[in-house]
């Protein structure tokens, strides 16, 4: 099978539906294909995509002159297509993709809040990211909206967000948050329950909205990379990499090969640190503190090494536009190889213990089930998707170095419960370790061992797409540069956009006290979603 061999079929179907594709480009947003269509065909193009079982992977808007340009991402077999259309900026209105792709729900509401786009047949007209810091009718990402906005002296709580009531004998509601009991991010959850089982969960997010898309505008490449590294701190390497990839493509360059390999190493380090930390936390949520302590210890050792190698325990700001800030010499490579072997052995013996603990099995097996159909409908990637049959892993799609030269099997299952999500993460610890050993070999085989950075040429007006598989799943990052080569538009789609709605489905029928472990097994990023 060759790349994009399905695209001609999609184009033919569009033609049958009288959808006119005005122009297509394989270059503008490479490796994605860009297709420009009319706004009135927006819904039809998605419905053809849905019939062909394409995956929907995100949408962003961009104000250009007085138009609102919408771009939606579709994926099939690791090939990306971007549908694009322009709306008049006055009263932008367009068909919604949500009736076809429920995962589009909140992203479209985000655009309604931020740009004032009306999605005509959207099933949910409530605001999403907007709380009370700006007024209805104001749209922060429109060019005329100042960065400082016009916030009230004190921003009140968003107390009147409409939440559907529930009635019936013995039915009750538990509102939780935004401030939670633990050391975690803020968000509001409203449980509707009868007895112990949860009948319905309503998430209300947006509490840590920091205006990232707005304050990105006008930054230079280095400034954007720093900001991207703070979209979701636990994914700082992955998000920075995605933004840098978008910037590099917008500027028409590729980073040196050694830089890509080092990025790969850092990214796999980040994956392992988070997987191990979360495996401990999942066990802790069902009272198995032993695992939490063991995992925290492993994670701490791992982070200390990251700190020694990169100067930062979480490896922030090490990936930069054009390359990386650190090189690895032979001594560092030898140390890492020993580390990998040690962790492989420690993790194996620890996971063996976890794997046959009856008390863990009792709490984690069959808890928090997500069906493959729902995962597919929502577009869940990462371990949430993989545990429910979605073989989405950009590292296997031949999209970016160093993974173009590496092979591994995606950990996959259809069992879809908490135990499976944890199991996928255990497997990924080992596959990451293997990949990292391969990367160390690649570093050793290089003849030029100094080339880790290339200056970004200025390319006014360029645009680029970043596609990176972070530990949570697929990250899509978009950058457009202005006439001076500064950022005109930046958007990053964290995988959490699709796993948060999955959590609402996952908890149904589970008992309220199992919410924490269900939540931890998904571990959506609040900050990455709220942006």
């Amino acid at each position: 099978m060759s790349r994009f061999d399905w695209l001609s079929g999609y184009l033919a179907e569009l033609e049958d539906e009288h959808v006119i594709v005005h122009s297509g480009s394989a270059q503008t947003l490479a490796p994605a294909h860009l297709l420009i269509i009319d706004p009135e065909d927006w819904g039809k193009a998605a419905s053809v995509a849905k019939n062909m079982d394409l995956r929907w992977s995100g949408i962003w808007a961009d104000e250009q002159d007085s138009d609102i340009v919408l771009s939606a991402v579709l994926v099939n077999q690791g090939d990306y297509v971007v549908l694009r259309t322009a709306l008049l900026g006055e009263q932008p209105e367009i068909a919604s993709h949500t009736p076809l792709y429920p995962g589009a729900d909140r992203m479209e509401r985000h655009l309604a809040d931020m740009f004032g786009v009306t999605f005509t047949d959207h099933p949910d007209t409530r605001r999403w990211i907007r709380h009370q810091a700006w007024q209805e009718g104001e749209h922060p990402l429109r060019a005329g909206f100042p960065v400082q906005g016009n916030p009230p002296e004190r921003t009140p709580a968003d107390a009147d967000y409409p939440s559907p009531p529930i009635q019936g004998s013995g039915v009750y509601e538990i509102p939780v948050g935004p401030v939670h009991a633990g050391i975690i991010e803020p968000g509001h959850f409203r449980f509707q329950a009868a007895g112990e089982p949860i009948l319905r969960l309503e998430e209300r997010l947006g509490y840590v909205h920091k205006g990232i898309e707005k304050i990105a505008v006008g930054r230079d490449a280095a400034g954007l990379a720093r900001l991207a590294g703070r979209i979701s701190g636990d994914s700082t390497v992955a998000h920075t990499w995605a933004a840098c990839q978008a910037l590099e493509r917008a500027s028409g360059i590729r980073p040196p090969e050694r830089a890509s390999i080092i990025r790969g190493l850092l990214s796999e380090r980040e994956r392992i640190a988070n997987h191990i930390g979360d495996i401990g936390a999942i066990c802790n949520d069902v009272g198995f503190a032993f695992a939490q302590m063991q995992c925290q210890a492993l994670r701490e050792q791992w982070q200390r090494r990251s700190g020694e190698l990169s100067g930062h325990r979480l490896m922030m700001d090490v990936v930069v536009p054009g390359g990386v800030m650190i090189n690895l010499d032979d001594a560092a490579i030898a140390t890492l190889r020993e580390d990998h072997a040690r962790l492989r052995e420690q993790a194996r013996s620890l996971f063996d213990i976890l794997d046959d603990q009856p008390s863990l099995e009792d709490r984690l097996l069959s808890t928090g089930y997500l069906s493959p159909e729902t995962a597919r409908a929502l577009g869940a990637s990462g371990y949430v998707g993989k545990a429910s049959g979605q073989a989405i892993d950009l590292r296997t799609d031949g999209l970016y170095a160093p993974y173009t030269r590496l092979r591994f099997n995606i950990a996959l299952s259809e069992s879809g419960d908490v135990a499976t999500r944890m199991g996928i993460r255990q497997e990924e610890v080992f596959s990451s370790l293997n990949l990292m050993d391969e990367m160390l070999k690649m570093l050793e085989q290089q003849t030029d061992r100094t080339d880790i950075y290339i200056e970004l040429p200025s390319r006014p007006g360029g645009e680029g797409l970043g596609l990176i598989d972070g530990w949570r799943g697929e990250i899509v990052s978009y950058v457009r540069l202005d006439d001076e080569g500064r950022v005109a538009r930046f958007f990053a789609r964290d995988p959490s956009w699709f796993t948060w709605p999955a959590l609402e489905r996952i908890v149904l029928g589970n008992i309220v006290p199992d919410f924490p472990v269900c939540n931890k097994s998904v571990n959506g990023s609040y900050s990455g979603h709220d942006l």
Binding site: P140, T155, Q294, Q296, E300
Partner: protein, 173 residues
Amino acid sequence: MMRILNRIYRTGTLTEQGLDLRDPEIEALGRELKTHIDARFDGSLAIREVDAGSCNACELEIHAVNGPYYDIERFGVHFVASPRHADVLLVTGPVSRHMETALRRTWQAMGKPRFVIASGDCACSGGEFGVSYASCGAVRNVIPVDLQIPGCPPSPIELMKGILALMQGTNAP
């Protein structure tokens, strides 16, 4: 069960001897912290952490400070679930406007005397996010702050140093 016991035995105690042997200053601060907490807070200092808009990396390091390597509890510092039980509010992130009221209410729910630590560059100055339509910037723009811990994020050692410094500067309640 034997495997668990065996692993616990082999892992041993990981808590750093006096935190960091290379830094006797911290060991001294640690001892002093314990003395302060014993004298003024009857042996235990309760901290309520609030993420007011952080990128979540600050939280990762606060988790680490509670982990087996640092184990801040042995100095009498523990993290509590309710602001009503807390002596100290540890705030991370720039204060997002959407969290402004929640933060203020959490602070108001605390008994007095109460102390506020702004932890991380964002909490100290607004950091990478500054002040905007979405962000109030530094924590002190919203509630009074007693101590600031810079860093992005502050490492566990820096967090411990910060809490110790607050205790040193704190007047007896």
